[in-house]
Amino acid sequence: MSAVTQAPLTPTAPGERTTPASAKRPLLLTILTIVTTILVVISLYMALAYAGQEADQGDVQRIFYIHVSAFAGAFIAFGIGVIGGIAYLVRRNPRWDRLAVSGIEVGFALALVNLFTGMAWARPIWNTWWTWDPRLTSAAIMVLTYAAYFMLRNGIENADTRRRFASVYGILAFSTVIITFVIIRIRPDTIHPAVIGASPQNAEGGFRLAPSMLATLSYSMVVWSVFIPWVLIWWRLRLENLNERVNALRAKALEE
C-alpha cells in the first residue's frame, strides 16, 4: 500500500507550468537565513575571541558556548515536535505532522551536537571521552529515543497510522528531554557541572562565568535556541511540503 497523501492538486492546463504559492520562497525566510548566518559568525567570533580564556581548562572551555546552546536549541525544536504532535492528534491535519517531523529532525541534529561537543570537552577535563554519569546517560537515551522516532516513521507504511503513532511517540519522547535537563539538579552523584546555577557537589570541571563569558553564552543561547531552530525547521518544513506535493503528483500519475 502506497504511503502517499491524496492532497488536492491545483488543476493546470496541459503543458502549463505553475508554481503553487506555498512553493515560492518567502522573503522573510531569505532574510532570516542571511541574518542567522551572520549571527552564527558573530557568535563564533565571541566564543573564540571575545570571551576570555578559562584559566584551568584552557581553550576547550569555549566549546561550552555551543554545547549548552545546542541543548537549548534541541529543547525548543523537540518542543515544536510536541506542539506539532498534539495539534495533529487534535486536528488530524497532516501539516501539523510535517511540523512535528521537521522540529524533531532539527532537534536531533542539535542534540547530536550537544552530545559530541560534550565528549570533546570531557576528554581533557575528565580524562575520558565517556562515562556513565546520570546526565550523560540520560542525554544518550534522549538521542537514541529520537533516533527510534525516525525508525518508527520509516517502518509504518500507512500514512495516517504513521502520523498518529509518530505524534504519540514524539510527545512521549519529550520526557527524555525534560529528564536530561533536570537530572543534574536532582541527582547529587552526577559529575556534570551546571553552567547556569549552582553545580552539584560532585561536579568536576565547573567554572565561574566572567562578564565576557556570560555575555557570549547569553548571545549564543539566543542564536542557537531561537534563530537556528527557526530557520532550519522552516526550511525542513518547506521540504516536507514539497515532498507531499510530489507524492500527490505521483499518486495522480499512477492513477492515470
Partner: protein, 50 residues
C-alpha cells in the same frame, strides 16, 4: 608560590567545532539534496502529466 599553568586544550576545541560543523552541515546538505531531488521528481511528474 604555586603557579597555575593553563593547559593547552585547543585541539579538543577544534575537534568539537569540527564535529559541530559536520553534524549541522549534514543536516543542511540533507535538506538541500532533498529539495533538489523533490524538484527533479516534480518536474518529471509534470512532464508525464503533460
Amino acid at each position: 608560590m604555586e603557579q597555575n599553568i593553563t593547559p593547552d586544550t585547543t585541539a579538543y576545541l577544534i575537534l568539537g567545532l569540527t564535529v559541530t560543523a559536520l553534524v549541522m552541515g549534514a543536516l543542511i546538505a540533507r535538506i538541500m539534496i532533498g529539495f533538489r531531488n523533490a524538484h527533479r521528481d516534480e518536474a518529471a511528474l509534470k512532464e508525464i502529466e503533460g
